[in-house]
């Protein structure tokens, strides 16, 4: 199957005076519709890699292609639209907008896309909240929820625009094992139903092992890459 994400010789060096190289000439591709996990020690460069895939950060050298398009040549507006419609982020720190309720946060990607919120959109947002087990607190202000609830809200938000790619950085870091289990079951279902590509960073080996493919990063290089 075709690759939806492709990295060619991607390097990342932080800092101007004191340079720290975090990623070293990575060549990596992910197939459309695949469910992938990235593991590795803390500080190995996982988040850096994911942010580069998600166009939030720029590689120091190398190319990133999303669906065959070189993202380095995209105009700012095209980049924004790509982030909005093609990519769904779940950050290591959940990052909700505290000024809005949980449900409004979930609707935000749709609003940014420019669509009005009609009944079906609303229903979809509610279904997502239901899926992550938050239908009871959906109208809470975002900062009036527990860390785990906020994280689940962020997951629902990432799914709102049916993106082709979901990039998740420790999406269940704050959750107990039952909720974690449940959420992965749901994500997997979405993956199978709608061919959404998942790239998920996790510390949890049990979770990683349920993915189609495990990529291990060590000191900015690919240490291991196994597919089932």
């Amino acid at each position: 199957m075709a690759d939806i994400i492709k990295l060619e010789k991607v390097s990342k060096i932080y800092g101007d005076k004191i340079k720290t190289q975090v990623l070293f000439d990575l060549d990596l591709a992910f197939e459309r519709g695949s469910f992938n996990s990235i593991i590795g020690a803390s500080g190995s460069g996982k988040s850096t890699l994911l942010n580069i895939i998600g166009t939030l950060d720029k590689p120091t050298a190398g190319k990133v292609l999303i669906g065959d398009r070189d993202v380095s040549i995209l105009a700012k507006k095209q980049l924004a639209d790509l982030r909005n419609s093609t990519l769904g982020f779940i950050f290591q720190f959940h990052y909700l907008l505290p000024e809005f309720t949980a449900l409004e946060n979930v609707l935000m990607p749709h609003r940014i896309k420019g669509g009005g919120v009609d009944k079906s959109t609303f229903k979809k947002a509610e279904e997502l909240m239901d899926m992550v087990g938050l239908s009871k607190v959906k109208n809470n202000p975002a900062n009036n929820m527990s860390g785990g609830q906020q994280q689940r809200t962020a997951i629902a938000r990432a799914l709102m625009n049916n993106p082709e790619i979901i990039l998740a950085d420790e999406p269940t870091g704050n959750l107990d094992s039952d909720s974690t289990e449940n959420i992965y079951k749901n994500l997997r279902e979405i993956n199978e139903r709608s061919e959404t590509t998942f790239v998920i960073i996790t510390h949890d080996r049990r979770i990683a092992e349920k993915a189609d493919r495990i990529v291990e990063i060590k000191d900015g290089k690919i240490e291991m890459d196994v597919s089932r």
Binding site: K76, A80, R83, F91, L97, P98, E99, P109, I112, G114
Partner: protein, 385 residues
């Protein structure tokens, strides 16, 4: 745009205390602006009214050689037709005379008016303190003349002209112009009576006018001069005769503008510094929104709209406060006789302008944070937790 507005409104609502503080700041600036502006305009209006409000602002008179204005009725019709800026026009037949009473002989000016026209300039009915307006063969005199000579109602007044004619007229009333030079010298009568006394026939000696915009009197006078183009006539306007008053008014206007400019500058500085802080406060939110794909234009519009909303509310509150202050001032700052020290003239155009400038200033002030938000890179926020 709708999304930017929604987010802007929500940001402002979320930091309600801060929002309230900024709105109050703008409102105080606007209210000072409105109050001072209206105060100075009221002062000027008062000054203009007392000085020229009840006198002709443009006067056409005959030269000494010509003595009378011929075809004055046609002239009035022509002026009326072509000068829309006039609010009143009235012909007068004037002449000098001596008032003879007992052994005394006092110089007076006899003024013959068509009362329904003259009313528009002199508001004579308001000034009548005793009796009624004169009919043909009757006159009214000022209070000063009455007291000085001991005149009484319905008494006959004996007037002598330079040509030696002596006539008697019944005194039908007394007026008070609140200007002693007028009160002691004008004997006002019906136009026919004056024409008869001075042998003017059907002619008059002057045409007097008031204009809607008193400060345009010189321009209108020039235009009338060009239209009439008659060397026997002299056209004068109040501005040419009141240079000192004019420069006083000008000075007031300039100081008023200065005050308003400084108030506006402080409002702009205040808003822009506070809005610059809010962009720092909201940099996390902007970063998240950008990571979700909000376009830069929409993101910076959030701050412009915040500026606009703050400006609109600040302006509305400020106008209300300023008007309230003005009303309080006219209600509580009174002269001993109960009239307000300064009567405010509610100038809606000026109030709208003050509010509009405040809104514009808020919008301009919010350009700085809006620009700053363009440079904000989401990764800064995502990385730093």
């Amino acid at each position: 745009m709708r999304l930017s507005f929604k987010i802007a409104a929500r940001f402002l609502k979320f930091n309600l205390a801060q929002t309230f503080l900024i709105v109050t700041g703008i409102a105080i600036g606007v209210s000072v602006q409105v109050f001072i502006g209206l105060l100075i305009q009221g002062l000027q209006q008062d000054l203009v009214n007392t000085t020229i409000g009840n006198s002709p602002q443009i006067t056409i008179s005959a030269t000494k050689e010509a003595a009378v204005i011929e075809n004055w009725e046609e002239a009035i019709d022509e002026i009326k037709e072509n000068e829309p800026g006039l609010s009143a026009i009235s012909a007068a037949a004037d002449g000098p005379a001596f008032l003879l009473k007992d052994d005394r002989s006092d110089p007076v000016i006899v003024r013959g008016w068509i009362f329904e026209d003259a009313e528009g300039i002199y508001s004579i009915e308001e000034k009548l303190v005793e009796g009624r307006l004169p009919k043909e063969g009757e006159v009214i005199a000022g209070l000063n003349l009455k007291d000085e000579l001991g005149l009484s109602l319905n008494e006959e007044m004996k007037l002598a002209t330079a040509s030696g004619r002596i006539e008697e007229y019944r005194i039908s009333g007394f007026y008070d112009f609140r200007v002693s030079s007028i009160n002691s010298s004008w004997v006002i009568t019906d136009i026919k009576t004056a024409q008869g006394l001075f042998d003017y026939g059907d002619e008059v000696t002057s045409i007097e006018m008031q204009v809607q915009d008193v400060f345009a009197a010189d321009i209108i006078a020039d235009s009338i001069n060009n239209r009439i183009d008659n060397e026997d006539l002299i056209i004068d306007n109040w501005k040419a005769q009141n240079q000192e008053l004019l420069s006083g008014l000008n000075g007031q206007s300039i100081s008023s503008i200065m005050i308003q400019v400084f108030v506006m500058i402080s409002v702009v500085l205040g808003i822009s510094s506070v809005l610059a802080i809010t962009v720092m406060q909201k940099s996390k939110e902007i970063g998240i929104l950008k990571a979700m794909g909000i376009r830069d234009g929409d993101a910076s519009r959030i701050f412009l709209l915040q500026g606009l909303i703050l400006g609109v509310f600040g302006a509305m509150l400020g106008v209300a406060l300023g008007l309230g202050l003005s009303v309080a001032f006219t209600t509580f700052a009174l002269n001993p006789d109960g009239t307000p020290v300064i009567a405010f003239y509610i100038n809606y155009g000026f109030i709208a302008l003050s509010g509009g400038i405040a809104i514009l200033a808020s919008l301009v002030a919010s350009f700085i944070p809006a620009r700053k938000s363009l440079k904000l890179n989401p990764i800064e926020v995502i990385r730093n937790g």
